[in-house]
């Protein structure tokens, strides 16, 4: 038992020790762990810090890269285009002046023509001149390319910043567009590099935000959770990305087998039943694989250590009595490397046997698929190759435990939550639920995500409608057009009448940049969160309609 306790006190240190499949290093570090059971070794701290900084830099570094790229682009484009634009504006002003002069002199001529002022004639002549003037203005506006022929400067720094952002996010407003040849060439190259970079950053931050969101959501749910909710999450079928249904069925089967087993154990109403069950249980336990017994022992140990669960103690006792001299092997458990992960998998499979199911069936499931179950329980990055039992050994107090819960994490630990809730003699069962192990993978409902996105759009709409004096519909329309990267450009903050080029206008432009970048990140996050569920739902609908015929395996 002492060995078990030392394991528990090590906290979330297990995973990093099993980084490589190298036996020697694992044993060595494990030994080190043994020695420094009660304090954090410097090597531990260092490797922790290293992973922390790696994560930090991969996210932060990419953010900084994007920001730097945008700013560099802004400066570059501003330099290229500003002089040309000034020249253009100067030309335009001069042209208009000339035009006006021309027409005013025409008007003068007309007025001189009529010595006596015949209002009608004069007015009609004047109107004709005005109309000509107007068409000249319209033509100039069209050919010059600017939809507005005002004198506001487009290529300020913030204008160029918005321009760069609109390129790399492929929104492309177009209110500011390059006129020089070099500007156009540079735009193309800037886009070729910038768009993939942006996509990379978006996927990166989308995953990060999605994980945070799931974490927050599951915590919010756990706070208000009851046993039924945790056992409900047992039913969650989690399909790993590359492997398909069989392994998830495996795990579901085994997970339910575990709960069933504990329920079997707990369905003791009277002494006779108890004795009978004990005998049954002992028989079942005896029939287990030694490694299976080991794992079961760990589970029971954990339970016993956590809250002195009567039932678990019983299991433990039985296991000990059965295993006899195998007790010593418990010490090696956390150091178990990749090889024996296969054994663990077979353990989990075999546990289904205790339910009385057909043994041959399950062995068929098990054979030749070594590691598929392990893949489920492993971090989606595959960074920690931890066997699945590690979470069973560690305190909840360690927080997240060793395993980052990627979408592939399956609740092998459901044994505790599900089993604890339905015990008749489970005096410790409510307390058991407190120790919710490395967070159960709650899937965030699609409606919540959609509401979040819609709220973001509405919020942006409110802010812009106040700032830019657009209507609410117009602002919402602008937000939608921007966030979907359509980017028509008919509404752009910061360039409305009188505010372009001013300090306020520039601030508005920058806020617009921030808004749209954050909005795109949120959309990436929502895609991340809901894509599986949406795909599953669409498949369901398709199957329902009958487009896809049901597969016999399903």
């Amino acid at each position: 038992m002492g060995g078990g306790q030392s394991h528990n006190q090590q906290g979330p240190q297990g995973p990093s020790s099993s980084h490589g499949p190298n036996n020697g290093s694992v044993l060595a570090t494990k030994k080190q762990q043994h020695e420094n059971a009660n304090k954090c070794s410097p090597a531990k701290v260092k490797s922790c810090l290293r992973t922390f900084f790696a994560h930090l830099f991969s996210h932060i570094g990419l953010c900084i890269l994007i920001v730097g790229y945008t700013i560099a682009g802004a400066l570059m484009f501003e330099k290229l285009e500003k002089t040309y634009e000034m020249k253009l504006i100067g030309n335009r002003t001069a042209n208009f002046k000339k035009l006006r002069l021309h027409y005013v002199s025409e008007l003068w001529n007309i007025t001189e023509q009529f010595n006596v002022l015949y209002e009608m004639n004069w007015t009609s002549a004047v109107e004709k001149e005005l109309r000509e003037f107007e068409s000249r203005v319209v033509a100039t506006a069209n050919t010059a390319g600017y939809s507005d022929v005002k004198d506001d400067l487009h290529w300020t720094f913030s204008g160029a910043l918005l321009y760069s952002v609109s390129i790399i996010t492929t929104i492309g407003y177009g209110n500011t567009a390059p006129r020089t040849a070099w500007g156009k060439i540079l735009t193309m190259f800037y886009a070729v590099i910038g768009v993939p970079l942006m996509l990379l950053w978006l996927s990166n931050i989308g995953t990060l935000m999605a994980n945070t969101f799931k974490f927050a959501y599951s915590h919010a749910c756990c706070i208000s959770s009851n046993p039924s909710s945790s056992s409900r999450s047992v039913q969650t079928k989690r399909t790993p990305s590359s492997k398909t249904e069989p392994s998830s069925i495996q795990v579901k089967y085994s997970v339910s087998a575990m709960t069933c087993e504990t329920q079997v154990v707990q369905a003791q109403q009277n002494m006779h039943q108890r004795a009978l069950n004990r005998r049954e249980q002992r028989a079942k336990l005896r029939s287990l694989d030694p490694s299976a017994k080991q794992v079961l022992m760990e589970c029971a140990e954990y339970n016993v250590n956590m809250d002195q669960d009567e039932r678990s103690r019983r299991i433990l006792h039985q296991l000990h009595s059965d295993s006899g001299g195998n007790g010593g092997e418990m010490l090696n458990i956390s150091g178990m490397d990749e090889e024996s992960s296969d054994e663990v998998e077979s353990v989990i499979d075999m546990r289904g046997v205790t339910r009385g199911g057909d043994q041959s069936d399950l062995r068929g499931l098990n054979g030749g698929r070594g590691g598929s179950v392990m893949e489920i329980s492993v971090n989606s990055n595959g960074m920690e190759g931890t066997p699945s039992r590690i979470p069973l050994l560690h305190h909840k107090g360690g927080g997240v435990g060793g395993i980052e819960s990627g979408p592939d994490l399956v609740e092998v630990d459901e044994y505790h939550c599900g089993g604890g809730g339905s015990g008749s003699d489970g005096s410790a069962s409510p307390s058991l639920n407190k120790y919710h192990l490395p967070r159960t993978e709650q899937r965030v409902p699609v409606s919540l995500v959609l509401t979040f996105v819609v709220l973001y759009i509405m919020g942006g709409a409110a802010v812009f409608s106040v700032w830019e004096k657009w209507g609410f519909l117009d602002s919402a329309y602008f937000c939608f057009i921007t966030l979907s990267t359509i980017g028509l450009g008919d509404y752009v903050p910061g360039v409305s009448f009188g505010s372009a080029g001013t300090k306020e206008g520039q601030a508005q432009l920058i806020v617009c940049c921030l808004y749209l970048v954050l909005g795109l990140a949120i959309i990436a996050m929502s895609f991340n969160l809901v894509q599986e569920e949406v795909a599953a739902k669409v498949k369901d609908i398709a199957r329902h309609i009958g487009i896809i015929k049901d597969n016999p395996e399903h």
């Binding site: 005013v104 203005v137 050919t143 939809s147 390129i167």
Partner: protein, 316 residues
């Protein structure tokens, strides 16, 4: 067989047929047609919604023009003897005002009075080309591909709402189209590529021999499956397409080649500034609306094919 039996047999067949039809619609070929059909519907929808706008614009501008004329008149009448400088100064100011008003109107989509309409009667101006059928078609295309030029944009509130809804449904549909078409094109391309490579390899690569010394013919189909098209070929294809489009549009729209390639690139990357859009240069000279419409259609086809090619390259 009795009627009841026949009916019972008929119903599953109808359901089956329906199922096949729906499956086809969402399959490869069907989704093309679905997207094109969606764009056509969108074109009609936007045309219907947005067509009314220019009339009010026209009215507004006319009103402004009247006001300016009246102002000028009052200027003239103000002076018993008209001083040239005074007149010039005041008239200049009035015209400047007028210019600003026109510019604001242009900002809001005003396109100028058609020159063949000389009277002040309520004759309907000639068809506004931007929101003609092909213009609306191009607009629908730019919405669902998220290119979003912006040279034509909805002015009415209903147009904006319609754009939002149209986009929400259309964008996933277009992505579906891309993935399907990309799939087909990628397979076709790989097959052709494999054939070409096969011809080349047959001359160079030593053939595999089976145990009994016979030529292993079955090795070849395996290689087909694992053919990976080199990235350089994909890039060359894309660059070639952009360049080709550049030549085409330069010819058609009288742009420079740089401008035209720039336009192709910006469109195909779905950035879509809208500073250069086909039909712009031509629209200043009235009466060539057929050409404009043709250029819109051409542009749409070019974009559809181009995005399919990009999707294909991504599949490699």
């Amino acid at each position: 067989m009795s009627d009841l039996e026949y009916e019972r047999r008929l119903w599953p067949r109808i359901k089956n047929a329906f199922r096949v039809l729906v499956a086809f619609t969402f399959s490869h070929v069907g989704v093309c047609g679905l997207v094109v059909g969606y764009m056509i519907c969108g074109a009609f929808l936007f045309q219907m919604i947005e067509k009314q706008e220019p009339n009010t614009q026209l009215e507004d501008v006319r009103k402004i023009r009247n006001e300016t004329a009246n102002e000028l008149l009052s200027i003239v009448l103000m002076f018993n003897t008209l001083e040239k400088e005074e007149f010039f100064k005041l008239a200049n100011a009035a015209i400047k005002n007028y210019t600003e008003e026109i510019v604001n109107a242009i900002n809001l989509g005003y396109e100028g009075e058609p020159l063949n309409n000389q009277t002040h009667s309520t004759s309907v101006p000639t068809e506004n080309v931007s929101w003609s059928f092909s213009g609306a078609f191009l607009y629908s295309l730019t919405v669902i591909t998220t290119i979003g030029y912006g040279n034509v944009a909805p002015r009415s509130p209903w147009g904006k709402i319609a754009t939002i809804l149209y986009g929400i449904i259309g964008m996933p549909l277009f992505l579906l189209y891309l993935s399907n078409i990309g799939d087909i094109l990628a397979r076709g391309f790989k097959w052709t590529f494999a054939r070409c490579c096969q011809c080349r390899w047959n001359c160079v690569k030593p053939r595999r021999y089976l145990d009994n010394g016979q030529l292993d013919e079955e090795a070849v189909p395996d290689e087909e499956e694992q053919i990976t098209v080199p990235i350089s070929l994909c890039l060359a294809l894309m660059v070639g397409y952009v360049w080709g489009g550049g030549l085409l549009f330069a010819n058609w729209e009288k742009w420079t080649i740089l401008d035209a390639s720039y336009f192709c690139f910006i469109s195909l990357s779905t950035i879509g500034f809208g500073d250069l859009v086909p039909g712009d240069a031509i629209s200043s000279t009235p009466g060539r609306e057929d050409e404009i419409q043709l250029s819109f259609i051409l542009c749409s086809l070019y974009l559809l094919l181009g995005m399919a090619l990009i999707a294909m390259c991504f599949q490699f």
